[in-house]
């Protein structure tokens, strides 16, 4: 009995190693092809302006999508994909908590992988995810267009430089759109010793 447990353990470790390898090979190729996932970088800045984007389940994939649909679905999303090389099965490493919007083809175009679908089956190019999200989130889209939802980067003055409105999927994970909880940065240092503990109750 103990031997079999051991074998299972070894298999599991091998599986993990495989995962890491897949990840390593995927990053440098496909990542650059996806304009929507590209991270904006300001010309020379003294602080990190990388948008926060997290998927709670994508632990082995550095919490970012590093592969595209066409990796497996060569022609369209309806036909059978070529053999998956993802060890835990495709799509299983993602979290799907986009409310009631649980059907893949609500957003992904059935005939054109790597493109999104409009209400009438029209194609929304993959680098324009805003047009997809506004199908349902009209109020947010209005705010985004006015510049008060989502972050704007680089210039406030349009005469001096381009305003960069971040697209929806640069901050929100489309499959898990709730903005993630973050670890706060360190609190300010206290110069003076505190006379009371924080929990103590004054009466």
């Amino acid at each position: 009995m103990k031997k079999s447990y051991f074998i299972i353990l070894i298999l599991f470790v091998l599986c993990m190693l495989d995962l890491q390898l897949v990840h390593a090979t995927d990053t440098d190729t496909d990542y650059a092809d996806l304009p929507a996932f590209k991270i904006l970088s300001s010309p020379k800045s003294w602080f990190d302006t990388t948008p926060v984007y997290k998927d709670p389940k994508l632990l082995f994939y550095t919490q970012e999508f590093t592969y595209t649909c066409t990796k497996c679905h060569e022609k369209d999303l309806k036909s059978k994909p070529k053999k998956s090389h993802l060890p835990f099965g495709a799509h299983l490493d993602m979290t799907f908590t986009h409310g009631l919007n649980l059907r893949c083809l609500n957003c992904h175009h059935a005939d054109h992988p790597d493109a999104f679908t409009g209400h009438d089956g029209s194609i929304i190019p993959k680098d324009n995810p805003v047009f997809l999200c506004r199908k349902c989130h009209g109020v947010t889209y209005r705010d985004w267009k006015a510049g008060i939802h989502g972050r704007i980067n680089s210039f406030w003055d349009a005469k001096l430089g381009p305003k960069k409105n971040l697209a929806c999927n640069q901050c929100h994970n489309p499959h898990h759109p709730k903005f993630p909880d973050l670890k706060p940065m360190a609190p300010p240092k206290r110069d003076v010793a505190q006379p009371h503990k924080e929990d103590s109750q004054h009466e």
């Binding site: 300001s42 800045s45 003294w46 602080f47 990190d48 302006t49 948008p51 926060v52 705010d143 006015a146 510049g147 008060i148 939802h149 989502g150 972050r151 704007i152 980067n153 680089s154 210039f155 406030w156 003055d157 005469k159 001096l160 430089g161 971040l166 901050c171 903005f179 909880d181 973050l182 670890k183 706060p184 940065m185 360190a186 609190p187 300010p188 240092k189 206290r190 110069d191 924080e198």
Partner: protein
């Protein structure tokens, strides 16, 4: 005692000035004079001792520098080259110091969405990186207050919160920084006009003019001003070489400083550092006089809240609640 006084035995006789000045030198008067002389020398040494503690003696140029509003471009050029030399000497950095003037037709305003802020403090550290604040002792312009949901009581807020993840349950967060008030108490408190409001709405400090009395720190109702009790310590690699005379140039010891909406960025059309890093996009900045930009949209369409409105400071910093 009283009896003796009445008798007049011990009462001193009135003496004329001549008697005192030309009195013969006795043992008592000699010791008295010596005592006075010693007191004067020690007292003088104590009063002048701060000068000895100066890292570098005040240069004549700096001593004779005029008020910012009286400076000609030639003066400014000389001052900037002097400050560059000082920074090179003290921090081994080739700084690029500018003195960008306000653009006509531009008035800045800031809006912060409390409904979306999660209190992650990214803005606080971006501000430190951009504005060359002292790392030790630590100076931060932005304070993020953690508040109980359903209350707006700043007295019970906590700015030392440090949970595993934010937002914590039943809390909301209110970042506070300089509100660039139109009727600024700090400007009124300054006895020497070392701080004033620029035409584009930014309240600035001339660090060379400030005498360090800290009246402005006491006057500010938002606790937005900081004082350099020590010479700023910044690691060389963290110094931002793009500096402005009224903005983020490295401050000398003993002067007040404050948020300037990143004057070195915003006067060149860029957004302030805190707005650039906010991961939730809660911070919105822009020119209030321009139609159709985000900040005017908010002021026209959203319900905004002004902190401590009853003080009549008329801030340029608005809070609004929007999901």
């Amino acid at each position: 005692m009283s009896d003796e006084n009445k008798d007049g035995k011990n009462q001193r006789e009135p003496r004329s000035l001549e008697d005192i000045t030309y009195a013969p030198l006795t043992r008592r008067s000699f010791l008295k004079a010596g005592l006075v002389a010693t007191a004067l020398t020690t007292g003088g040494a104590v009063t002048l001792s701060p000068i000895k503690e100066l890292d570098q003696p005040l240069s004549i140029d700096e001593f004779l520098q005029k008020h910012y509003e009286e400076l000609t471009p030639q003066h400014m050029e000389r001052i900037i080259s002097r400050i560059k030399r000082e920074i090179k000497r003290d921090y081994k950095i080739d700084a690029d110091i500018s003195d960008t003037k306000p653009t006509p037709g531009v008035e800045f305003a800031y809006a912060l969405n409390i409904g979306r802020c999660i209190g992650c403090r990214r803005c606080v550290y971006a501000c430190m990186d951009e504005n060359n604040q002292s790392r030790d002792p630590e100076i931060q312009y932005i304070r993020v207050l953690e508040m109980e949901k359903g209350s707006m009581n700043f007295e019970t807020s906590n700015h030392y919160y440090d949970p595993e993840t934010v937002p914590a349950k039943n809390k909301f967060y209110v970042p506070v920084q300089c509100h660039q008030c139109d009727n600024a108490p700090c400007v009124k408190a300054c006895p020497i006009k070392a701080t004033w409001q620029e035409p584009d709405g930014i309240v600035v400090v001339d660090y060379n003019w400030c005498i360090g009395c800290r009246y402005c720190l006491a006057a500010c109702p938002y606790w937005a001003r900081r004082f350099n009790f020590a010479k700023p310590k910044i690691p060389k690699k963290d110094i931002n070489p793009k500096m402005d005379y009224l903005g983020n140039r490295i401050r000398p010891r003993g002067v007040a400083e404050k948020c300037t909406f990143c004057i070195q960025r915003t006067r060149n059309g860029k957004l302030p550092a805190c707005a650039e890093v906010c991961p939730t996009g809660s911070r919105i900045f822009g020119n209030i006089l321009e139609k159709g930009n985000p900040i005017s949209y908010i002021l026209e369409n959203k319900r905004v809240y002004v902190m401590k409105e009853e003080l009549q400071t008329f801030p340029r910093f608005y809070y609004f609640f929007e999901k």
